[in-house]
Symmetry: D3
Subunit: 117 residues, 6 copies
């Protein structure tokens, strides 16, 4: 993981700080997108847990470590178990191929930083 | 959609025919990968329906029309409702951006070819 | 180009029809995203012409033919000249590599379908 | 495959025609890139056959059907055998995942259009 | 940002050092590509400022932090204002989706390292 | 390179540790994929050296630094010379464009960490 995300704490701090800076930039399109992004994962026809799993797998096949970190944390908060995580990882790996493996390693490292569900 | 996938029927025919040709190629790595690909979506810690939704969203953000067609069909077979489809589409759209929109159009067109859940 | 986009006319018809279907799906996140997408290209600190060029190059390096078609048309409407188009194509080609070439071919074919600026 | 590439003949015709149109556009950066693209695959420290295989696998993991068609033809011309093709396909599939499968189907269909090596 | 790019100064140092090493490698295709890459952003039918904005947005949707850093610096040198930057960021975000957000955070952090335009 | 890959030694340590953790997760699909991944690069119709070069170029155009590091090391072990590396780099650069350059820099830095072939 990069320096601004070396630990979960560093990731959260940098994320919070820069999100604030971006929103203060005052660009209406960007600010509305951020609101939309939050809204998309709320309970709906699919529940929040399923949506977070969708976000996690999408982040893995697109290979975005920060996005993976975010959704690993949120999935855990929604009660995703270890075996469920690995089932989701398996889909990401089969769809996205070995290019996903380095991100899988970092996802599992993140998971180990969190308290068990 | 491309000519070999102009209708769901044409897609299925071409897919079936070429999968057979590929497996007859006799490459062990490829043949094992195909087996693995099937296995990954079977009921496990996550059920088949959730896994197919994961496959659908992964296919949408990676923008693979044939993969989307396949998972739209499988999701419908697993009982995914229209509102659940749209919730999954929304995650794919927010994660992947407007570049996903043309594939969303074709996904909805496919959905209209299928009997309702 | 795929069958639903064989001509500019076919592309426009399919796009219009499916956008209507998607919006009628009634998913709030998706509908708001569509509104945001339109808004992003309006005159602001950067004018609409520059923004459409940004959308064109982004679509080329992400290799989305339908998105390219859309922005080629919009750029022409904003008065982008042939030489300006080729300058933008050159950036897309150098950033994205030879993998962009097939999309460049189709972009130029689209350009030839349009009246000159 | 898209309409402009429904057969190998259609692909070659469209490619030839549009490459001419692009070069006549007279953008120096683009024209030099095209020259560079040709040059990169000539015999060097690695021979042309190996380089074409590299181009093929790169095209498969980036999922560009036209690029795949081009390199399948060139690989055959350089004497790549069926079993060597399948070994290269296997690397592309393992690195790129199941998202590569639809392109693999079309690659094998292209291969069947060509005389055996 | 990765360790070799923790600060703008570290990024510049590593970039300079490795570019020199690469050019000394003496591969004609690579060396010509580097020349082409520089040439593509010079004033032409589109001016250097517009071209750098195109390079910036292309880098953001392809999610390359080092490329983003380079173009943020160059855009600033060409006089891009904060509000223009945010307009360009908004296009990148809408086209590329939330997967662009972590790169947007780092782009804004880079911008804060630079003197105002 | 990220902190867990700052040196070749750090990369190897983290890779080894996390691969063990992943395999102990006990997901059959994932574990079989890892076996398949190893198998794909063994001598076959194409020899291991050619296959590693294919893996290297695939990793470069998909822009995965850890994958590049792995294949640079393996290519060196298979006797790939500096001039052969640069020929492979040139294909990756032409296919993938300037977006590959930052990864090329890191690939060359990795190569300099290894004993000459």
């Amino acid at each position: 993981m990069s320096e601004d995300a070396a630990t979960l704490e560093a990731f959260r701090h940098f994320r919070e700080k820069m999100n604030t800076a971006i929103l203060e930039g005052g660009n209406l399109t960007i600010n509305r997108f951020f609101a939309l992004d939050t809204r998309a994962y709320e309970d709906g026809a699919l529940d929040a847990k399923t949506k977070e799993l969708l976000g996690l797998v999408a982040s893995m096949v697109l290979r975005c470590d920060d996005c993976i970190t975010y959704h690993v944390v949120r999935c855990r908060e929604e009660g995703v178990t270890d075996r469920e995580f690995y089932d989701a990882f398996a889909i990401a790996l089969v769809v996205g191929g070995s290019i996903v493996v380095p991100h899988l390693r970092r996802a599992v490292a993140r998971l180990e930083e969190l308290p068990a569900s």
